[in-house]
C-alpha cells in the first residue's frame, strides 16, 4: 500500500518535471530575437502576449539591442491571434523600452481585421510605425539605414542552375 503510494508519487513527480521542462522549452522558443541585417533585429511573435512573456521578450530584446548595436527592431505580430487592449499595452511597452535605448520599433503583420479592432478599441498607436507585412517593414528598415536592394540581372533560381537547365 505504502509502496504503491510512493510509486504514484514518483510518477506524478516525473510528470511535474516533464511539464516544467516543457514550459521552459516553450518559454525559450516563444521569443527568438533574430538579427536579419546589421542594425536590424526581428521578433516574430507567435501566440498571445501576457505580462510574463512581454517581460521575457523585453529583456531578451534589450540585451540584443545592446549586444548588436541595432537601431531598428521589427515586431512581427502576424502570429498573434487577437490584439486586445492588454496585448496592445504590452506591445507599446516594448516599443517604449527599445526607444529608450535608441532603437526604433516597427510593428508589422497587421491585418485589416486587427487594424479595425485597434481603431474600434480607440487605441492610440500614432507614435508607432506600422506596416502590413514583414517585407514592407524590412524595406522601410533598409530605407531608414540608407540601404537599398537592387536587382543586378535577371533572376536565376538556384534550383534551375542545379538541374542544368541553363
Amino acid at each position: 500500500m505504502a509502496q504503491e503510494r510512493s510509486r504514484g508519487q514518483t510518477v506524478s513527480d516525473a510528470q511535474a518535471a516533464t511539464i516544467a521542462q516543457q514550459r521552459e522549452t516553450i518559454r525559450e522558443l516563444q521569443t527568438p530575437v533574430i538579427q536579419v541585417w546589421e542594425g536590424i533585429l526581428a521578433l516574430p511573435i507567435v501566440g498571445s502576449l501576457d505580462t510574463a512573456r512581454t517581460q521575457d521578450m523585453n529583456e531578451a530584446l534589450l540585451e540584443r539591442i545592446v549586444q548588436t548595436g541595432s537601431e531598428i527592431v521589427i515586431l512581427d505580430i502576424t502570429g498573434v491571434p487577437v490584439i486586445d487592449t492588454a496585448v496592445a499595452k504590452h506591445l507599446l511597452e516594448t516599443v517604449s523600452a527599445a526607444r529608450l535605448l535608441g532603437a526604433e520599433v516597427l510593428i508589422v503583420g497587421l491585418s485589416a481585421h486587427t487594424a479595425m479592432t485597434l481603431v474600434h478599441l480607440g487605441l492610440d498607436l500614432s507614435g508607432v510605425t506600422t506596416r502590413t507585412t514583414m517585407a514592407k517593414g524590412l524595406e522601410l528598415a533598409f530605407a531608414r539605414l540608407g540601404l537599398e536592394v537592387v536587382r543586378r540581372g535577371p533572376p536565376a533560381p538556384a534550383a534551375a542552375l542545379d538541374r542544368g537547365d541553363l
Binding site: Q55, N58, E59, L62, E63, I65, V66, G69, E71, E93, S96, A97, A98, R99, L100, L101, G102, A103
Partner: protein, 129 residues
Amino acid sequence: MPRVPILRLGSTLIAAVQEDLYDRDALELQEALTAELERTGARGVLLDVSVVETIDSYLGRVLRDIALGAQLLGAYTVVVGIQPAVAVTLVELGLELHGVRTALNPEKGLALLQRLFRAERRRGASDGR
C-alpha cells in the same frame, strides 16, 4: 566643483554623468548645462547616463526639462547609454521620456546629432529661397 563635467566638442556639449544622480545633482546639472548652452551657443547636448543605475520619476522629469530648455535655446538633446534594466523600469513607471531623443551609445548619439544638424541646415536652405 561640478559633479558632472561638461565638455565642449565643436557645437556640441557633452555631459558624462559619473555616478548615480540625486535630486540636487540633477538640478545642478540642468542649471550648468543651460548656462553653458547660453554662453557657448552650442547646438547639441549629449548626455551620457550609462553609469546611472536608477532613474526615478524626478530624474526622468529633469531629463525632459533639460531637453525642453535646450530646445528653447536652439539645441537638440540626446540622452545616451540608458541601461536595459533602467529602460524596463522607466516603462513600468510610465516614464517613456517622450520628447527626449535617445541613442544606444555616445558614438550613435553624436551621429544622430550630426543628422539633426544636417536636416536643420537643409530646412534652413529651403526656407531661405
